[in-house]
Amino acid sequence: MTLIAERPALVGHPEEEHGPTGILKWITSTDHKVIGKSYMITSLAFFCLAGIFAVLMRTQLASPDNTIVSQHTYNELFTMHGSLMLYLFAGPFAFGGLANFFVPLQIGAPDMAFPRLNALSYWLYLGGGTTMVLGFFTVGGAADFGWVAYAPLSDAVNSPGAGPDMWIVALVLTGFSAIFTGVNIITTVFYLRAPGLTMFRMPVFTWNMMVTGLLILIAFPVLTAAVVMLWCDRHLGTHIYTVSGGGVPVLWQNLFWFFGHPEVYILALPYFGMVTEVLPVFSRKPVFGYRGLVFATISIAALSTSVWAHHMFTTGVVLLPFFSLLSYLIAVPTGLKFFNWIGTMWRGSLKFDTPMLFAIGFLVVFLFGGVTGIFLASPPIDFAVHDTYFVVAHFHEVLFGSAVFAGFAGFYYWYPKMFGRMMRESLGKASFWFMFVGFWVTFLPQYLLGLHGMPRRIAEYSASTGWTTLNRISTVGAYLLFIAVAIMLVNVYVSWRRPIQAPANPWDGHTLEWATSSPPPHHNFYRLPPIRSERPVWDYNHPEHTVHKYEEERRAKRDGTPVPAPSGAAAGEGGAGEP
């Protein structure tokens, strides 16, 4: 086995023993694994906080004319629920957490390309996120204009106080954090791949993370510019978004959604990548249609930049046919992905461990969200259900489906690698079933409520509307979801108190992260298996089942050359021994 330790002449490779200890070790660490874990823990904390907000809101809506929270508090709750979930959980959990940890591992790199920039990204994220939450402790309370901060509502007259300003500051800081991480991941993928790991041998997870990085570079600068202009409107007397000085309020929507729609895919593509890692491993098959998945990812990313105004159909100042057509087009690569995922499972020998359950849950949930997304891309339907609970149900199916179902699939799948201990299967499965049932109980009634005309973002409704029963069912579902997350946290706690040691490759994985120990050593690899396909570890452990061998045999048959010896490419260069 060739030692990777011979490959990079690393400066600073000696193990960390000489470095600082305790909290200083955490603060000064530039190791992508430590930073990735910090991201993950921080974003899960924000997730739990935002989940509590959601449960509060659902409790408020359980009965008509309820007064558990005031209208103002309710506005703060849904604003911070959306902001925390979208800006501080869904993106950073995948892109800051799992990508940070696993992209270098999957491409055989010792660290991210810019370790210090990586650490800076985390500190900006932590500072920005904390600032946003601390808005609750200002005199006027936290921001209360929705996570989209539409223009006349977010100006200094309608939303006075320091809370909205802290929200703006948080977006600037976390925006820069995302941009830096994006640059870091793209550079890492372009320059630090292991020998033989060509672009078309990269795991789909890494592909998706890189494409997400490109999308971040396209989208986030627009958001940062837009919120800085909003701040100028609030404090410097400019009139960019105000009619009185000749500004255009809808311009905010135009800029925001130019960020906002790519953002939806910034939140979805990483999770597509996680599912694409989990499904083949638990089907014990190579991923079906690898190149198709990669090209689908690229086309989703490209198309997502030119559909932003489908959020603005009802403003009357957008090109309806253009945006409607392009929104429909996105269904094509997404559908292709679905066929590839189903094809991956088709006739595989499936193992229904917790990650696989969550991944299949994602397929079901996201399909439903995707189909209602096609409804909403049609302007006539959108005019009817715009700003109703139909939209709320749609985007929760899409985003909960990806960020939570697929995100938990990834979390359960990689937890042994990250922390060197196994999660309990029984608790994991219980968590899944609570979540799956709770999910439908929460969001199916919301579709109906939307069709019955219940608007979003209202704190109270009258009993005469007839919405009570459906709202109550939805609230019960929200409690089930709360229990599901609680079980997951218990699972983490149990694995912490009574650890079951994780082996290096507990799931018989395919990609390079399973070639190193759990958790990986400092600078990741002591040795690497030879890389001859997109699943080098599988090839190494199962030389009789390698895909590239079949390809070589087929090529040999076609060209009429002798078939290579069985001991050929798979184990030949590496020789005997454990990977």
């Binding site: 490959r7 055989g108 396209i218």
Partner: protein, 138 residues
């Protein structure tokens, strides 16, 4: 390096086409100021793919093939070459992050936090330069 450049250039070509269509379809509309904003952003998206993509394409023709682009390479292929310098620990990202937070908070609390922030940022800058010259802390 070729595939990387093609990826960027595909995005650039898509951006150029879509920006043109968007601009052309949006002409003669009453809300042309709205569509002009979108055209500018789409053109910027095209440039984001074009500039690095063209550079990578140029560079890929002037370099010998890297081991990571060679499908037959083994882990020993680039033995001895230095892939990068990876510090194990550094306090300066934390300081710089705190500095950025203070500067940004001046948007809420007034200019005094920015003065503190800039002082910290300068010290972090000096610190990180000294650290890189000396070789990183292990």
């Amino acid at each position: 390096m070729k595939h990387e450049s093609y990826l960027m250039l595909i995005l650039a070509v898509f951006g150029a086409i879509i920006a043109f269509i968007f601009w052309a379809v949006g002409l003669n509309r009453s809300y042309v100021t709205m569509t002009s904003g979108g055209t500018v952003m789409l053109a910027a998206f095209c440039l984001l793919g074009l500039l690095p993509g063209a550079y990578y394409l140029w560079w890929s023709r002037h370099m010998t093939r890297r081991a990571e682009d060679d499908p037959g390479a083994t882990p020993a292929s680039d033995a001895g070459s230095i892939v990068g310098v990876f510090p194990s620990s550094s306090i300066w990202p934390f300081v710089l992050g705190g500095a950025a937070l203070l500067v940004a908070l001046s948007l809420v609390f007034g200019f005094w936090t920015a003065t503190l922030g800039f002082a910290l940022a300068v010290s972090a800058l000096i610190g990180v330069i000294v650290e890189s010259r000396r070789g990183s802390v292990h």
